[in-house]
Subunit: 144 residues, 2 copies
DNA sequence: CCGAATCCGCGAGGATACTG
DNA sequence: CAGTATCCTCGCGGATTCGG
């Protein structure tokens, strides 16, 4: 990806040199980012990230999650959890009782995802005011 | 947001205490995350993040961007750039020449966004193999 | 070259009803 | 309780055309 902030040209990757490691500049293209895209799609997904954040507090049952995520439909919660489980971010544990009980919990991988996501969250919290002001100004300029 | 990895219960925020600072547990709800959601939506957007990454290398012209982002339509590039400009992440500079020329560049805010996004990118690069393996296994279990 | 405007297909996602 | 199945709509986004 990129070596922001303010790198004028190119990201850097590490390639094995002779005995040392050499840094090689290469342009940022969709080639480099392609494998990252599906991850970003998951993180950027409206519901996935909420589920992960809530599960970071500990395991939850299905309806417990549903109650705590305002506006999510049964269907979307199911699909979201399936996707997270498929990616190995969440475990699904079924207790064959009556009535049935299913616990969802973050895997280690899921927990590790919280780190960069929290970083993004902090950036968002720190800059939300600036952004909303920018939006307001932009919209004011547009309407005439 | 959350204090992963592996915080068993609750995130922490800092509240001003008497002379010291006290840590207060509070649940992660969509209340806490609401202001963050639109930011994540932007970051998670398929095109936005690619544009930001490419612009992190330096200013680009419209068609230059278009050529470097495989598969993006003119319309979506325009909309994406407008959104980024509106959020104050990108500047749009028009040179009234013939033919016209428009340069797009990251603002300081845009550059600062690269930092957490790069963090996420590194996580993705580091775990893409694990995730794809997990997906393959999950799909194998499903088909029967 | 840069963009706005229009049309249109399609798939994400909500609502509802039904099962184990 | 924890899903699955079906229907239906609504808006995202591609293709195309026109304007400055």
């Amino acid at each position: 990806m990129c070596d922001c902030p303010h790198s004028p040209q190119g990201g850097t990757i590490l390639l094995p040199g002779h005995t040392n490691v050499t840094k090689v500049k290469l342009p940022v293209t969709q080639e480099n980012c392609r494998p990252v895209a599906p991850i970003l799609a998951r993180v950027g997904d409206k519901w996935s990230i909420l589920v992960v954040m809530i599960l970071s507090q500990g395991p939850r049952r299905f309806n417990d999650l549903k109650r705590n995520i305002d506006g999510i439909s049964q269907r979307m919660l199911t699909l979201t959890l399936r996707g997270l489980e498929r990616d190995g971010l969440v475990t699904r544990t079924v207790f064959p009782t009556i009535p049935p009980r299913v616990d969802y919990a973050l895997t280690d991988l899921g927990h590790s995802l919280c780190v960069p996501v929290t970083g993004l969250g902090k950036w968002a919290m720190a800059n939300i005011d600036t952004i909303e002001r920018s939006r307001a100004e932009f919209d004011a300029r547009s309407e005439d």
